[in-house]
């Protein structure tokens, strides 16, 4: 008898916790969605803030260039190594260029560039907005009848939407040259066929897919990182938690959305 009561109590507690966690998750998702939609609504209203947008573009885009170029070069080089090694087994080193280029354009460029932007600019964005929340700068904007979503968040959204695709383009180009450097210069694949295989294999559809991916990843980075910063809790740990959560959630969402988009685009 006692045992059954105990078991049912444990079960109830478990179901309760599960329910609470689910409710929290649904509510959080709703809040995030509302956050994004209101930011776009504020973006559509004047005044447009070109100077703020440029400043954010400089921060998200220009300042991430170095780390993106570095990542792209090494990714391209290791692809050159790995793929050359694999292709040689089948005697088809001639298509090295096309395999490197397609992996870069379709997959690695958008995903890796977005992950690097999350790590470098996204976390800094969360911290910046979080500090503004904790030091009441966001409240101060509100008291001056300036909407924080419009003044602070909207320019970061625009910068993410423009900046990430541009970084991805750089990533792709550098990565393809990295593959060339290792595959052709180091391992001795034919330079002519490296380029010609790219020309014949890469279609407009591949490029278009890559652009679509990078635009949506740009939105994910600024959306998640701004949301987490904007809702930083007023405590000493609040800022650290917000930054960690922003980086993890943004990265996970990028990978999930990547799978989804790929399966739809193929």
């Amino acid at each position: 008898m006692d045992e059954r009561v105990a078991v049912s109590r444990v079960l109830t507690a478990f179901v309760e916790r599960l329910g609470r966690a689910t409710l929290f998750l649904i509510r959080e998702m709703g809040r995030m969605l509302i956050f994004m939609l209101s930011t776009f609504a504020w973006l559509a209203r004047p005044p447009l803030r070109p100077f703020q947008i440029l400043k954010q573009l400089h921060f998200i885009g220009y300042k991430s260039t170095f780390v993106v170029v570095l990542t792209a070069a090494f990714t391209g080089m290791v692809l050159g190594l790995q793929i050359y090694y694999t292709l040689r087994k089948f005697g088809s080193e001639a298509v090295l260029g096309s395999v490197v280029a397609l992996s870069m354009i379709r997959e690695l460029g958008p995903v890796l560039a977005a992950l690097m932007v999350t790590a470098r600019a996204g976390s800094a964005m969360t911290a910046e907005i979080g500090i503004m929340r904790i030091t009441e700068q966001i409240d101060a904007l509100d008291t001056m009848a300036v909407n924080p979503l419009q003044y602070l968040i909207a320019p970061k959204f625009v910068a993410g939407l423009i900046g990430v695709p541009l970084l991805v383009a750089i990533f792709d180009v550098v990565g393809i040259y990295g593959g060339y450097l290792v595959g052709v210069d180091l391992l001795g694949a034919n330079p002519g066929s490296y380029w010609s295989s790219i020309e014949s294999a890469v279609e407009w559809k591949d490029v278009y897919g890559g652009i679509l991916k990078s635009i949506s990843f740009g939105l994910i980075v600024s959306w998640v990182c701004c949301y987490k910063g904007y809702n930083t809790r007023m405590s000493a740990e609040g800022l650290g938690t917000a930054t960690t959560e922003a980086v993890v959630l943004s990265s996970v969402l990028i990978l999930i959305w990547d799978y989804f988009l790929t399966s739809v685009l193929l």
Binding site: D139, A140, M144
Partner: protein
């Protein structure tokens, strides 16, 4: 005439009841000071007046408008009549001191740039920050940030100004300068002022009214001269120790 009226305002934050039925009437055109120990909820109270926080229960009236249910445009219209000096100054890190003080003039009043420059320079000089306009908040001391925040609140010359501890962290001389400045501005423009301050006894000579917040309620409110003659033991104790050391257990 009452400019601001709080009726039965209750607020729980982070699971802790902070305001437990605040009734408070702020007369128009007067300087009202709210005293109370640290963590009693004075800043929370000010944030209710300007609509940054909404009460769980109760009403907040500003010049005949109940603002606690207002949103968006309607709330902004009310806020345009306010300025607030935050406890931590809340200067924008990414802007210089000059741009900070100019911000409300450019964003809220949309003044022409020549007038902005004139008014900002004038206010910076009044708070003793002449020539500091090009610095960023990170390069300022705590007291200088406070004064820059004060300049930003005063520059708009609004109808109502909320000052959250304008002199905390300043040396006595600078504190007196700030008090004199607030009083002079108040005389000149006749705005309604609500100030949170620990500066006992100085506040008694500069305030028109004094109210005390304790245990989430306004436990005493009287004209400044009468307030000092109160017999309420809690108030007396607070005044006696200078206001700084009463901490919530």
């Amino acid at each position: 005439m009452a400019m601001i009226k709080l009726a039965g305002v209750e607020k729980t934050l982070g699971g802790q009841p902070v305001l437990c039925g605040v009734d408070l009437t702020i007369p128009a055109g007067k300087l009202t000071t709210i005293i109370g120990g640290s963590g009693e909820g004075k800043s929370v109270l000010l944030k209710h007046i300007i609509g940054l926080l909404q009460p769980d229960r109760g009403e907040v009236w500003v010049d005949g408008i109940e603002i606690s249910r207002l949103r968006g445009k309607a709330l902004n219209e009310v806020r345009k009549r306010f300025a607030m000096l935050f406890q931590g100054a809340a200067l924008f890190d990414s802007l210089t001191v000059f741009e900070n003080v100019a911000f409300p003039l450019r964003e809220k009043l949309r003044l022409p740039e020549t007038e902005v420059v004139g008014r900002v320079e004038e206010k910076l000089a009044q708070v003793g920050l002449a020539g500091m306009g090009h610095k960023y908040p990170a390069e300022l001391s705590g007291g200088m940030k406070k004064r820059a925040g004060l300049a930003r609140a005063l520059v708009m010359e609004p109808e109502i100004i909320l000052f959250d501890e304008p002199t905390t962290g300043l040396d006595p001389l600078m504190a007196k300068t700030i008090h004199d400045l607030i009083v002079a501005m108040h005389r000149a423009f006749g705005f309604t002022a609500v100030m949170v301050s620990h500066e006992i006894p100085e506040i008694f000579s500069i305030s028109d009214w004094v109210a005390m917040l304790k245990d989430g309620k306004i436990v005493a409110m009287a004209p400044s001269a009468d307030f000092q003659r109160t017999t309420d033991p809690a108030v007396l104790e607070f005044i006696a120790v200078g206001g700084m050391v009463t901490l919530k257990p």
